[in-house]
Symmetry: C2
Amino acid sequence: MKATSLWTLAGTALLGSLTVSPAQSNPEAAAPAPAVHVPSYSADGKLEMPANYREWVYLSTGFDMSYSPRAQPGHHMFDNVFVEPSAYQAFKKTGAWPNNTMFVLEARGAIDKGSINKDGNYQSTELMGVEVHLKDTGRFAGGWAFFAFDDGKAATMIPTAASCYSCHAEHAAVDTTFVQFYPTLLPIAAAKGTLSAGYKHDLGAAK
Amino acid sequence: MKATSLWTLAGTALLGSLTVSPAQSNPEAAAPAPAVHVPSYSADGKLEMPANYREWVYLSTGFDMSYSPRAQPGHHMFDNVFVEPSAYQAFKKTGAWPNNTMFVLEARGAIDKGSINKDGNYQSTELMGVEVHLKDTGRFAGGWAFFAFDDGKAATMIPTAASCYSCHAEHAAVDTTFVQFYPTLLPIAAAKGTLSAGYKHDLGAAK
């Protein structure tokens, strides 16, 4: 039994790669059905920000991710992605997203030196943005819509001419969602055969 | 309505800081009580790895974090932290951790170029380690214990002489847990008055 620990973050303790059984393939028998969050709209048709998305299922985090080459921005940023729990459970079974699937992307500032941290970055209490990607085939042309929240207020749909729509449609691994960046979901989609033609084309072109 | 979007990760769309209402302060009324994960031990006293920790409540992610200065390691790593849902709900109410609180820290590889990502890093399907920090005042001297899992097999407690114990005891913000690195929990602990003397001492020394 080695006495080094990830929690000590000593830097080199875990350079080796361990094979660990996928956690998502063996849910506990006693887990209850998840609460379903149904999208809520204001009287004037704006989407309400989901209040408790931090208690949804976490998918992944990026650090300074960018889809276009750029100069050093002079700061660092994390982005965390969450998905509504009942949609996650459906995806585990089918590799596909049901109607009302809602993703939340939050951006947070990155801190380097603070408390006992001496290297790398941790996440700040500073929330720099919250966006939603929502599936509703009866409501949105193309099936999905994006919303950006400002100060927690209900948000108008981002117009479909925005580049997020075309980029997600062309490159996202499953049904306009970037499952290729969600490490526990990508193996499920591969196993269920739900990977998009665009994603497979990109994979082939990269070889 | 601006048509730029975090989801396009265009690099500069969100340099500004938005103030967003804290999600955790307004849980939905219909949310059911969370499933309680009770720690499970093998016949020889080892801790079983919690199977579905990826469905627990996400706390935060670090990127290349290290508690000691180090040379560039030549690779990047993410660490994601999850906490058992009923413990999280208790913390929201009290700023303190009940018995059987369990944290999971998972380390994942970081990928830079892949799919359409051109800058920064996203998380790999390569799981590099899973560790648990568990509170059981009846079972462990000091109240908490660390476990490192290898290949998903039940784990022996890391001996209390390991540096993780002394470092967490001296510097962690709440009851040996590094709440200072969990952005949605730190404001709760501050409001509930549960920040540790060691953390407050470190804060004062840094001024």
